[in-house]
Symmetry: C2
Subunit: 336 residues, 2 copies
Amino acid sequence: MKLATYDNGARDGCLMLVSRDLTRACAAGIVPTLQAALDHWDEVAPVLEADYRALNRGECDESRPFDPVHCLAPLPRAYQWADGSAYPHHVESVRRARGVPMPERYYDDPLLYQGGSDCFLPPLSVLELADPAWGLDFEAEVAVITSDVAQGADPAHCAQAIRLLMLVNDWSLRELIPAELAKGFGFFQGKPACSASPLAVTPDEAGAAWRDGRLHLPMQVELNGQRFGHVDAGAGMHFPFPRLLAHAARTRRLSAGTVLGGGSVSSPESGSGECCLIERRMRELMEQGAVLTPYLRPGDRIRIEMLDAGGGSVFGAMEQLVVASRGAVKSPPANY
Amino acid sequence: MKLATYDNGARDGCLMLVSRDLTRACAAGIVPTLQAALDHWDEVAPVLEADYRALNRGECDESRPFDPVHCLAPLPRAYQWADGSAYPHHVESVRRARGVPMPERYYDDPLLYQGGSDCFLPPLSVLELADPAWGLDFEAEVAVITSDVAQGADPAHCAQAIRLLMLVNDWSLRELIPAELAKGFGFFQGKPACSASPLAVTPDEAGAAWRDGRLHLPMQVELNGQRFGHVDAGAGMHFPFPRLLAHAARTRRLSAGTVLGGGSVSSPESGSGECCLIERRMRELMEQGAVLTPYLRPGDRIRIEMLDAGGGSVFGAMEQLVVASRGAVKSPPANY
């Protein structure tokens, strides 16, 4: 089934069912929010599934046309955002750009960081950029949303805890990252709030493309209306989602509503393009001797979507316009 | 006022008011949970304050004896946990132990990491340790809980967003941390879920001890019933909380309910003891040529509390017994 969160003025919005063809939507009456559904998934999901089937048959009296302009992120705020970096080609490109080596045991030991989860931006929101010198980049990712995962759960247990899939744009401030990572404590300022796709969907919505813990569909990225990337999200993914989840759960349990990303989708095949600017920049540097593509500036527009084998949009489209923000919030001087 | 969250079977528990002398408690009728109070603080807090005054005067008919055994963490799950490391003596000790240098701009540029916030453990829970070889340590910290903070807010704005103070035990798995940090993406497995004090309190509960963005009271730590640390949480804190918050908010807003810690309380005065094992171990190594204090093992008990100038417990006591956990959750082999 396909789920969305409409803006109703509340922080967590209102949970909606959206028809498979993205034409109709109706409120999920049984729970008010997606987090509430995840908190009680086993009881709630069968009711939602029945309503979803009725919606698809055109038998939901209270449905209305689906319009993603009303969408918040499926989880406008979440209790956890853990982001893997499971595409070796991406890690190699980024580390080459930063001049640091690959992690020694990269192919055995998943790379994962704790991200900020208190805000996921809506799929059609503007992205406010306070300073273009920060080097704004996007990263188009597939993410999973889980129910509770026990500490020490192995990959097979983790696979069973995957409830939903969605797309994430993991905004990155490339020019802040090297100095931040040099401090040794990982990302903070370099990774502002992510954006999310309009829809979070159960894995069955992807059909046979969801297999071996990966989503085997192309991530489609447009920059300013031009195709930028069309990259298979499955082929280049070294660690499947259940392995990433088991890594995250090794020393602590994961609570329902945990969002875990696979990292910027990436492929070494140059014909497929890229899902972030930094890889394109590194390829330009290697192939043409100079970086030609700038980081994002106000006025740039990014569109991210994934179509299934039949051409249907699995998650709806994320489309963001970068705008200059009003800048810092200043006060009279104080003693801090 | 003093607030607690009682276990009522729900994930977020039930918000309680607790009398200043920690003898009586009553349910906060106006909102069900602490997160709900933080989401609507300006409207809710005056009502809670009036009820709190009545409770302290013995005029709350529905009050009952306060018993911390019913307490969950004040926020059993939170949307953000950001942990600073604002005590130079702690950073120097830990980095010496790991054999890595101080961050180059430590005294100008706050050190802060994104922690996992999907679970805060109750104040009197056992701490399950799957493997003593992980090197379990505690870190006694002061933390603030905020309302919404705008992106780019300066320290004076951030100071106004501090709604509550609490204590946190930031459990750390010392033997996992060096290899994890070497990968460059910060902590994940090395920092399992934190524990929290029974009470979160408004800053006025600390009286004059809450000033210049720091809490000037001694952190009192006992290990197995013996005094381990009695360390002023204000004197050794280089960056005050508003500076840490402004650092966190530089590139993104912080949502209501953000928990931000100051880091393991620490002092170079050897007479005051320590608030974590690793500092004690480094001091032993330097003064006596050998590490004598082991990391925590099943059966060890840690107690953390803070008393005000009049001897009253500001936050109640956190007391945790380390127990061996049942270990990993295994499944039949699968293709991950």
